[in-house]
């Protein structure tokens, strides 16, 4: 049981590391400039490993640069959501009046269906990477803030918080030194969940044609493929449509595996259950 989780976690981490390296070293790895045009709709060959698309761009290079775009958006959104959500969650959990205010804002935002609104907003503003990031950020911090708050609500009643007050610790000091370290596990899990969500949502938006047409993500490559009717009648879908889809699937799988493995490290109760089953 435990072994299984660790192995899955390692696999997930390996997948993510590979994608991260690809994203960082994209210009060095990609065989061609993704905007450079060659003969369109070429089949895979030693010159173009995944062939070319309908306007003659090398699909492999597009995918490699797409990794950069997809991961960059997911990373930036998750990091900012994590920082904002955690800070607001800490404040909301610790200070009652401010917390009430923050949570009512969260409630209002949570009643709005997330994806449809994102689609509506995205279709009204100029599609670009930074605009996409901004749209995802509107909703990214909500769940983190709420989950962190509920944890802080129980943490602040612990005796060691009283003990810290008794040696003269201020509220900010207590939040930073005593409460924050105790919510880190939750923050990590939320970070992974948010990254997974953004990868999928960004692919979805791009697939609908609402992504950045210049910096093309995996979703955008998929979108281009589906725009081109020829994929329905020839083998070309195998190297045009399948690879970006697999990239998305593997990234999400990698994140999920890591999350699954961390779940146990962060919640030792799962471990004892695993032992119980073995016995």
């Amino acid at each position: 049981m435990i072994e299984g989780r660790t192995i899955l976690g390692s696999i997930g981490l390996a997948i993510l590391v590979v994608f991260a390296i690809v994203a960082i070293l994209a210009p060095h790895i990609a065989p061609y400039d993704p905007h450079q045009m060659y003969r369109p709709l070429e089949h895979p060959s030693s010159r173009h490993l995944l062939g070319t698309d309908n306007i003659g761009n090398d699909i492999l290079s597009e995918l490699i640069y797409g990794t950069r775009v997809s991961l960059f958006i997911a990373f930036v959104v998750s990091v900012i959501s994590m920082i904002v959500g955690t800070s607001l969650g800490l404040i909301a959990g610790y200070f009652d009046k401010l917390g009430f205010l923050i949570m009512r804002v969260v409630d209002v935002f949570l009643t709005i269906p997330r994806l449809p609104l994102i689609i509506v907003i995205a279709s009204f503003i100029r599609p670009s990477v930074w605009n996409l990031i901004a749209i995802f950020l509107i909703f990214g911090w909500l769940m983190t803030a709420r989950i962190i708050r509920s944890e802080v609500l129980t943490l602040r009643r612990r005796y060691y918080i009283d003990a810290t007050k008794m040696i003269g610790g201020s509220d900010c000091y207590i939040l930073w030194r005593h409460i924050l370290p105790n919510v880190v596990p939750l923050v990590v899990v939320q970070f992974i969940m948010e990254a997974t969500h953004v990868i999928l949502a960004e692919s979805g938006l791009s697939f609908l044609g609402l992504g950045d047409p210049i910096a093309r993500s995996w979703g955008m490559v998929l979108h281009d493929a589906f725009e081109c009717p020829i994929i329905y009648v020839s083998d070309i879908w195998m190297w045009w449509m399948l690879p970006p889809g697999l990239c998305i699937v593997f990234t999400v799988l990698g994140l999920t595996f890591v999350g699954y493995a961390l779940e146990e490290t962060l919640d030792p109760k799962l471990k004892s259950q695993a032992y119980g089953r073995e016995l």
């Binding site: 060691y160 009283d162 003990a163 008794m166 040696i167 003269g168 610790g169 000091y173 005593h178 370290p181």
Partner: protein, 310 residues
């Protein structure tokens, strides 16, 4: 001069069922270097009194009266001044060492933070001081143990760590809230010895319901019942010449005195009985006890009691 002078202190909690009068008109003073025992049953307001002194109660609590510490009224000063006093001037040792230490922080850091909050020492100096303090509370190989986490310490050791945190800034007054609760007899006597040593130059308010511990440590003892003091005298007087029926009952309930329980239950702090608060449980209760609330009277020099029949 008294180090701490409490006059007319009232701590009331408003609740849905009514006002809880946890501390009701208490007068108490602690001299420099003195150990004062505050004794009473569970729920009589002992801990609340300690928390009131440090101003750590929920903001909806009403506190009246004065708490004069070295000339300044603790109930009037600003929160920032109060924070300076907490830990540096008045330290509190909590009753649950196991839950009063942060599980994700090294023991040394938790001692060092008390020092760093007040003295602005560097991380390294504070750690060295933490080792010194751990050594002074008799923790073996302190230089190694500062880097351990609370779960690696036993119950008695954790209580030593709590005492170390309390002592970290050399406070003038330590409020020890049942420091021997939940410890076995051997460890308990070790902790009592330790407290005796470390409070030689420090005043201590010892909150406990353990008369044995109080007898070993205290110069004077105050008995508390249902939010108010009922008897207040030197330790010797309390043990040799107890005047209040509650004090006598408390002494009689000691194992060495035959384990005779006091009949009845301590009253709810919302609906206090009329007259003397102890009269429903008192053998000597007369008509007057049901009607009139007795005042604290000084029977002998320094021996106060709240009873009509003393």
């Amino acid at each position: 001069m008294n180090l701490l002078e409490i006059t007319d202190l009232k701590t009331y909690f408003p609740t849905q069922d009514g006002i809880v009068r946890a501390v009701d008109t208490i007068d108490l003073s602690i001299r420099e270097r003195e150990t004062l025992g505050l004794i009473g049953e569970t729920g009589c307001g002992k801990t609340v009194l300690g928390l009131t002194i440090l101003r750590l109660l929920h903001p909806t609590t009403t506190v009246e009266g004065t708490i004069i510490y070295r000339g300044s009224n603790l109930l009037k000063i600003t929160e920032a001044e109060m924070r300076r006093i907490r830990g540096e001037e008045i330290a509190m040792i909590l009753q649950n060492p196991t839950t009063s230490l942060n599980p994700v922080m090294r023991v040394g850091e938790q001692i060092a933070e008390a020092i760093r909050l007040h003295q602005g020492l560097s991380r390294k100096d504070a750690k060295e001081k933490a080792i010194e303090i751990l050594d002074s509370v008799r923790i073996p190989s302190p230089s190694g143990r500062v880097n351990e986490y609370p779960h690696e310490f036993s119950g008695g050791m954790k209580q030593r760590v709590m005492i170390a945190i309390g002592l970290a800034c050399d406070p003038a007054l330590i409020i020890a809230d049942e420091p021997t609760k939940g410890l076995d007899v051997t460890i308990k006597s070790q902790i009592v010895t330790l407290l005796e040593e470390v409070t030689e130059d420090t005043a201590m308010l010892l909150i406990t319901h353990d008369l044995g511990v109080a007898r070993a440590l205290c110069d004077r003892i105050a008995l508390m019942y249902a939010g108010e003091l009922v008897e207040y005298a030197t330790t010797r007087e309390i043990f040799e010449n107890p005047l209040h029926p509650y004090t006598r009952g408390f002494l009689g309930s000691l194992p060495s005195n035959g384990l005779v329980p006091i009949p009845g239950m301590s009253p709810s702090l919302i609906n206090l009985p009329d007259g003397c608060r102890f009269h429903p449980r008192c053998d000597h209760a007369k008509a007057i006890c049901q009607k009139k609330h007795p005042d604290m009277i000084e029977i002998e020099d320094g021996h106060f009691v709240r009873c009509f029949h003393a």
